[in-house]
């Protein structure tokens, strides 16, 4: 019997959320004024939660490591946000969005959470419109939609190729109003370095002021982690340079279980890696697959000539192009889900049909849609993305197809949460990408924005009341308590330890080494042998890190190298857990592909009999193996089938 209780409410799938809301406790306005909540991270989930909770009357302290909450990495989401509005009359519904998300996630997410997500999705669009988010509109003045991978309807709302930016600025504006009214105290350039628990409950955090270097204590009646995902464990990813797992990781080490770390999304359309000096990868929105066709040459000799630069893509005739997604998946074509598209690209490149010098790129071609719709229409739809591509690669996508290749983009795994989004530590919540709950083994495009805002605007404001109603007699948390002193001392000791190693190797070198191990052995295709090696190599890297790290500068000043050192130390530990989880999950599902578990056609083969569970890991000390707890996934509404996009 699992010790995990997901607290899924009773009733049919469409009644669970209503039933739950009717049954959970509510805190009175007079008591909300006495309660404090800490929110770590100010992306879509964090900013929307901080603003909404403060509007309800709670006292909120919000933290971000950037110089402004507006810079959180949600800002970089391009393509759009899904919502079951059915404005297009194309037979969309809450049920269909729910079904698509469960299927897209390869049946590894929790039905009840996903249905709730689909239920609240229409409210998000209304909220954003009311905030003044300039969504794309039709000539008649109504909201416009487009299609995304893995679905057969048009339910994606967008603001050019900058949807994440506009939604975040909407949440940021709501947050700003609360800051101005004094209901939210905003701490920018602050990094959370530990969680403080008192009698087993989350009661505060320790954070470092990244300008002065001062380590500070902050108390609250509840703590919300909305600090994003852990893609940067791979070093090269589409995440921002500062994105890190440390807030989640310290919670894990304080007792919050970490779920499904091996579920990592590899996005099929990124600008390929070039050279060895690259610091990050740039995504080209999935929306491009609405109008771009993916291909590689049919003939090996053409591929070889392309790699040598003897011919260009436009020299290859249509009949000599292999539109491999349309060939393999005729019903979804270029709009298959991300995991499928990524593996198909890898398959072509591994077979020798890659088109750049390194043989690790395929084409995304707009020639056909430009012929059909005109350059003007394509420019209107994707102008900023085309410009971005040209600035990076020096190649004009209106004239030559884009070169693309898969890259690490998003992490479905994260801190384990129950239906209330509470972790295994009472009073500690995880929202948005930081939790694990909604996307299973693969996230559909335009669903990250939906989940972040659903959690922040429409879930946590309700569910947190159920816990805080029991805390109304707890006075303001005293940060002079021994638990705070002890946590602060531990943080200071750790910073000093990292700083005083004074070895010979800057932190980035370790990060790159870790990334290489992860990409080679824990990347798009995994097997038991490679994963076992990876665990060993990561452990060795950890030893080397603590022997040979070189952190320059001062402890009590701006010190980006010190910040990175702490983050990479955590990434090394998380990388090991990720590999361990991947080794345990001997099935292929979604973004997790085990070579041992494939169909004859090379498609991922799920094993529902043995792996229809959430793997939640419990920390047992740095030198001990973590303990696996299983939350069985019960599918009451949707029948489990092998996923097919053919």
């Amino acid at each position: 019997m699992s010790i995990l209780n997901s607290h899924i409410p009773e009733g049919s799938i469409s009644e669970k959320w209503s039933n739950h809301k009717a049954n959970i406790k509510v805190v009175s306005p007079a008591n909300k004024m006495k309660l404090e909540i800490i929110v770590v991270g100010t992306g879509l989930a964090g900013a929307s939660a901080a603003a909404s909770l403060s509007e309800l009357g709670y006292n909120v302290k919000a933290f971000c490591y950037q110089d402004s909450p507006r810079r959180a990495h949600s800002i970089a989401a391009q393509g759009g946000i899904n919502a079951a509005k059915n404005y297009q009359n194309d037979n969309d519904s809450v049920y269909r969005l729910f079904y698509d998300t469960i299927k897209g996630g390869d049946y590894r997410s929790r039905e009840a959470n996903v249905h709730r997500l689909a239920e609240v999705s229409p409210n998000i669009i209304d909220q954003c419109v009311a905030q003044g988010v300039p969504f794309a509109r039709e000539y008649g003045g109504l909201l416009s939609n487009r299609s995304f991978g893995g679905v057969l309807v048009s339910r994606t709302f967008y603001a050019r190729g900058q949807t994440g930016q506009q939604l975040l600025l909407g949440a940021y504006s709501a947050l700003n109003r609360q800051i101005a009214e004094g209901n939210v105290k905003m701490y920018t350039r602050h990094e959370m370095l530990d969680l403080v628990t008192i009698d087993g409950k989350a009661r505060g955090i320790i954070a470092r002021d990244m300008v002065t270097g001062e380590v500070k204590r902050f108390g609250a009646h509840a703590v919300i982690i909305a600090s994003g995902g852990y893609s940067n464990v791979f070093f090269l990813s589409t995440n921002a340079m500062g994105c890190n797992c440390s807030a989640s990781w310290v919670c894990y080490k304080k007792g919050a279980f970490f779920a499904n770390p091996c579920f990592v999304q590899i996005h099929p359309t990124c600008i390929p890696v070039h050279g060895s000096q690259q610091s990050k990868l740039t995504l080209m929105s999935e929306s491009l697959r609405n109008d771009g066709r993916v291909w590689t040459p049919k003939k090996m000799e053409d591929a070889e000539k392309l790699r040598k630069g003897i011919i260009g893509p436009n020299d290859i005739k249509d009949e000599d192009r292999d539109f491999y997604l349309e060939r393999r998946y005729p019903s979804y074509g270029n709009l298959v889900p991300r995991d499928v598209a990524s593996r198909a690209a890898k398959e072509r490149c591994d077979a020798g049909y890659g088109v750049n010098k390194e043989g690790k790129a395929v084409y995304l071609d707009f020639k056909y849609s430009i012929e059909r719709l005109g350059k003007h229409t394509i420019e209107k739809r994707y102008g900023n993305l085309f410009q971005m591509y040209e600035k990076i690669t020096d190649s004009d996508p209106y004239k030559e197809p884009m070169q693309i290749y898969p890259a690490i983009h998003y992490t479905m795994g994260g801190t384990w949460v129950d239906y209330n989004l509470m972790t295994t530590i009472p009073g500690l919540y995880a929202l948005g990408e930081a939790n694990f709950s909604d996307h299973g083994a693969n996230r559909l495009g335009a669903s990250a924005l939906m989940q972040g805002l659903a959690d922040g605007y429409f879930v946590i404001p309700y569910t947190i009341g159920d816990y805080l109603a029991g805390e109304i007699r707890v006075p303001k948390i005293d940060t002079n308590r021994p638990e705070f002193v002890e946590a602060e001392n531990a943080v200071v000791a750790r910073l000093e330890k990292l700083f005083h190693i004074k070895g010979k190797t800057p932190v980035d070198h370790f990060h790159k080494k870790l990334g290489q191990i992860m990409w080679d052995k824990v990347g798009m295709a995994r097997n038991a042998e490679g994963l076992t090696e990876a665990i060993k190599e990561i452990q060795e890297l950890r030893v080397e890190f603590y022997k040979d790290l070189l952190v320059p500068g001062e402890l009590k000043n701006v010190n980006p190298e010190l910040e990175k050192a702490g983050r990479v130390a955590d990434f090394i530990e998380l990388g090991e857990l990720l590999a361990r989880d991947a080794l345990n999950r001997n099935e292929s599902c979604g973004g997790h592909f085990r070579e041992e578990s494939a169909t004859d056609e090379g498609e991922a083969k799920r094993d529902d009999e043995n792996f229809a569970y959430v793997a939640a890991w419990e920390y047992k000390g740095i030198d001990n193996e973590p303990v696996l707890h299983k939350e069985d996934l019960v599918f009451e509404t949707i029948h489990l089938t092998q996923r097919s996009y053919k």
């Binding site: 909220q127 905030q131 003045g141 709501a174 980006p560």
Partner: protein, 253 residues
Amino acid sequence: MADIILKKIYVKVWRQNSPKAKGRFETYEVINVSQGTSFLEMIDILNDELILAGKDPIAFDHDCREGICGMCSLYVNGHAHGPDTVVTTCQLHMRRFTEGQTITIEPWRVGAFPVIKDLMVDRTAFEKIQQAGGFVSVNTGGVPDGNVIPIFQDDAEEAMDAAACIGCGACAATCKNSSAMLFVAAKVSQFAKLPQGQVEAKKRAKAMVAKMDELGFGGCTNTGACELACPKSISIAHISRLNREYLKAKLAD
């Protein structure tokens, strides 16, 4: 295409250890940089060498490295976000530079943006301007359906043009008066083009302009330099709209 390797370039960079410390320029050599490398990756390479040589690396703000978060700044050879057009510093590539060139890098020089360390500046002033009125006062929940109010497509597009502002500060950094008018205009104009922004239009224009003045940003003298420096091509036509909104608000007083 094969990118050329720049065998040697010189980087002349502003070093300042803390807000109160005296700053100075220092020149460093950077060797073997591919022209396909981004400008910030070039600084990464230089920093790696500095660390290995036992020196303090250069502190600079950056995050998304794809031109949208607005965290990066810098004057590169006197231009905000460097010599390329319509890009942020993080999107600038070494293709724009040549063998043996000296590249001068400075932090934003704006009174309201004090230097924190080296190339990092404090842009809290922009936060305060947004907090003064850069929002529509609606709480979460209880709002009408998104399609209840149709919005002219052209208006939505123009609002989006303005809303594209990333809050980097290049406008104020380029303006000879250190004016933040383009930044303020971007937000006021976005809301001015949308029905949702109308209710608080007067209050917003006055509050944001007053806050900008209070924080020590200069006035606008219509030189148009901000528009040229803006990595998102935000037009000074939005400043005209801000002026109209402001005037309307003042006349109603």
